[in-house]
Structures are given as C-alpha cells and as structure tokens.
C-alpha cells in the first residue's frame, strides 16, 4: 500500500529542517521567550549575567523583560532595586538618570495621591535604582512587576529601561511605582542585578524573557 500520511512521530523532531518553501497553517507568532527563572532563597542578590547559567543578555533580542513575582525581604527594607553591569557582573555601577513616580493608597484611606518621587530618582548616579519601596518582612508583604530593558547590547546608544511595579508599602498601602530612565553608556549592558537595599531577598522569583 502506498504511503500517504506521515505521523508527527515519524519525524526526527530534534533534527534541523531548513525549509525554504512556505509553511502555512499553525505558524507560531509567539514573540516572548523565557530565558531564565531565578528563585530567591535568602539571596543577597539575584543576578542575570550574559553567558552564565544559561542566561542570554546580548544582541539575541532587542528587548528584554524581567518579571518580578512576589519578592519578599528578610528585613523591613528601604526598597527593591536594580543595577546594571558592563563587565559581565564584576561591577554593578552604571551611571543612570531616571524618573520615579508613584500612585499610592492607604488601607486606612488617609493617603491617596499621585506624586513624583524626588527621593527615588537618580541624576547621573551609579547607585542602585529602587523600583519599589518599603516592602516589609511581614509575612504576606511582597512586590511584583515588570522591567523592560531595551537593546542592551547597543554600542551606539544609551540603554533605556522602564519599570512598573505593585507592592504593599510598609504593610499598609497599595504602592504603584513607575520608574524609567537610561544607563548613560554606549558600552553594552551584559548583566543585571536585583537586590533589596538591606537584608536578603527571602523569597520570590524573577523571570527573564527575550522579546523578538
């Protein structure tokens, strides 16, 4: 009998098929790729270093997304912060200029405002940039959000980043923090570090994605 159908398991799906024709039908339009999950466990820092531990942070993707899921400090803390490296993690001290503003609302309904966070921005500083503030070590307190880093491998332009986070501020307020700015360097950014200002990251996950 003539062979008319080939089942999917007839193909060696681990091999490479260099189609030059047209593939139609269930074509993937997916553009977001998970690169690395790092789960904190009493960790001083969470570092994503290009080329280490399967981390890709180079010109493979034009945009990188860090998703922050329930980061929780070991001690009451000033803020959860990010910094960048141009030497694959030997130093995290890239010069940055940033903005920060927050919408906050207290559980007691006695604070409700949208305000620029002049104490939380940076002007040509190498300090860590806080992307949320005052998460307490109280059991159910945490912070979540996203941070986009654009074209970190560029050696022509500065490197923009945009962050939006939601957290419980000092065990009493909904805290919606927007931070954006740029690493004022034309060197490639090849590593990113997250940490609390004080103490450890008791728990939480940070996931790195590449966006095509």
């Amino acid at each position: 009998m003539a062979l008319s159908k080939l089942a999917a398991n007839s193909f060696d799906l681990t091999d490479n098929y260099a189609f030059t024709g047209t593939t139609t039908g269930a074509v993937s339009t997916q553009k977001l790729f998970l690169i690395k999950n790092i789960d904190a466990s009493s960790s001083g820092t969470v570092d994503f270093v290009n080329g280490a531990s399967s981390v890709v942070l180079d010109n493979t993707y034009k945009t990188y997304l860090f998703r922050i899921i329930n980061v929780h400090p070991s001690t009451n803390t000033g803020g959860f912060a990010v910094n960048f490296s141009i030497d694959t993690g030997s130093n995290y001290n890239v010069t940055k200029t940033t903005t920060s503003f927050v919408a906050q609302h207290a559980e007691a309904n006695n604070v409700a405002e949208l305000a620029y966070g002049s104490g939380y921005d940076l002007a040509q500083s190498t300090s860590d940039q806080e992307i949320t503030q005052n998460i307490y070590a109280t059991d159910d307190n945490s912070g979540c959000g996203n941070l986009y880093l654009f074209n970190p491998s560029s050696t022509t332009f500065i490197k923009h980043f945009i962050s939006e986070t939601g957290s419980m501020f000092a065990n009493a307020r909904a805290w919606h923090n927007f931070v954006a700015g740029y690493c004022n360097t034309t060197s490639a950014i090849d590593a990113v570090r997250f940490k609390f200002d004080t103490g450890n990251i008791d728990s939480g996950r940070i996931a790195l994605y590449g966006i095509k």
Partner: protein, 215 residues
C-alpha cells in the same frame, strides 16, 4: 527494516507544508515561549464575564486582555473586576488599590494627569473600576486594556494586580480619551481562583476578554 524516522534529506524542503496541527516548538534561539492563551469569553448582552477555572498554580502570572468592551447601560459606567476565593460562588475579596489617569478632551479644552479618589478602594469588597465613564451613548466607544494578576494561588502573600486601560469616555458635552493605571492587592492569603468582570449597572453589550497564563 521498518521506517521509523524521516530525516531532513528525505523531505522536499522546497515544497509547501500546510500544517493544521499544533506546532509546539522550542525556540531556535533560546528558551521557550511561556505565554499561553487559556480561555476566551465573548460578551453578548452579558451581565458578567467570569473565569472560574484554570486559575491555579500552573502559571505565575495571569493576564487578562479585554478588547472593545462596550456597555449596554445608557449612562457613564466604569468597567470593573473582582476576585473570588471560592471558585466563583461569590466575588468580594477585600482589596486596596490606587487609580490615576491621563485624559484629554476631543475639543482640547482640558488635559491632565490626576489621581482619582473616586475610583480607588481601601479595604473594600467592591468591584475595582478599570475605566472612566465608559458610555453606550456613542456606539463606537469602548474600553480595552490589560490586567495582570500575580501568583493568585499563593497562600503566603497578598495577591497583587496591575492594569492599564484605554477608554473612549463620555464627558457630557464632549468626549475624551482616558488612559487609566490601576494597581493594588487582594488582601488575603487565600488563593484567588476566579475572576469576574462587569459594569456596575447594565450589561456588557459586546466585547472579548482573553485569559493568558505566563510562566
């Protein structure tokens, strides 16, 4: 010998292959795609749109994308949502949230960024507004946007959410564009296992909400 595997050299790679199955791939570059559409609900004069399954610990983040949500009620209403800890038997989890927007009137009479105390919640079990003055008066007006719900199955932490919406809003004498930013937390350590969307009065005349899981 039985044929067990087809090698690339055995296939006409210049032909056209119209796959109709599911193409589940490992990325050619690195990693795998980890955002999966879990459900789609479409309104048709619906009182509510609810997601009562698949919200569990399978994914770290759940994203709801609402598209062209149009109310039936003939007055200004705010599209909203609430959570459930009992798979949808009731929707009324205590939450605290903030709400601000940027707006601009079509006649250019007013434009600003403002905090809206009328739409934030403080330890309330009410539905959380996600829009400003969505109106049925104009058939082409609606609200669209996204809502992210973080780690809803956690029994340790409160449940954070972040939403951004865009609304063609009714401003009475003139319409305006409204871009709203909402964030807060369900103040519970019980798992959130269902989410409901609705207008405070009237039906959801039309629109689609998609739910995605993200790992």
């Amino acid at each position: 010998m039985a044929l067990s595997k087809i090698q690339p050299a055995s296939i006409d790679l210049t032909a056209n292959y119209a796959f109709t199955g599911t193409n589940s791939i490992t990325s050619a570059s690195s990693g795998t795609y980890e955002e999966k559409k879990l459900a789609t609900v479409t309104a048709s004069s619906s009182g509510t749109l609810s997601f009562t399954s698949s919200i569990d610990n399978t994914y770290n983040i759940y994203k709801f994308r609402f598209i062209e949500i149009h109310p039936s009620h003939d007055s200004n209403v705010d599209f909203g949502f609430q959570g459930s800890t009992n798979t949808g038997s009731s929707y009324g989890v205590t939450l605290t949230s903030s709400f601000f927007d940027a707006y601009h009137y079509e006649n250019d009479s007013s434009a600003a960024v403002r905090y809206l105390t009328s739409r934030d919640l403080a330890q309330s079990t009410s539905f959380q507004p996600l829009s400003v003055n969505t109106a049925v008066a104009d058939a082409d007006q609606h609200v669209s946007g996204e809502l992210f719900l973080f780690d809803p199955s956690s029994t340790t932490f409160v449940k954070h959410f972040i939403s951004t919406t865009q609304t063609a809003s009714d401003g009475g004498s003139d319409d305006f564009s409204d871009n709203s930013y909402i964030a807060g937390y369900f103040n519970t350590t019980s798992a959130i296992d269902a989410i409901q969307f609705k207008f405070p009065s009237g039906n959801i005349d039309s629109g689609t909400i998609e739910m995605y899981g993200i790992n």
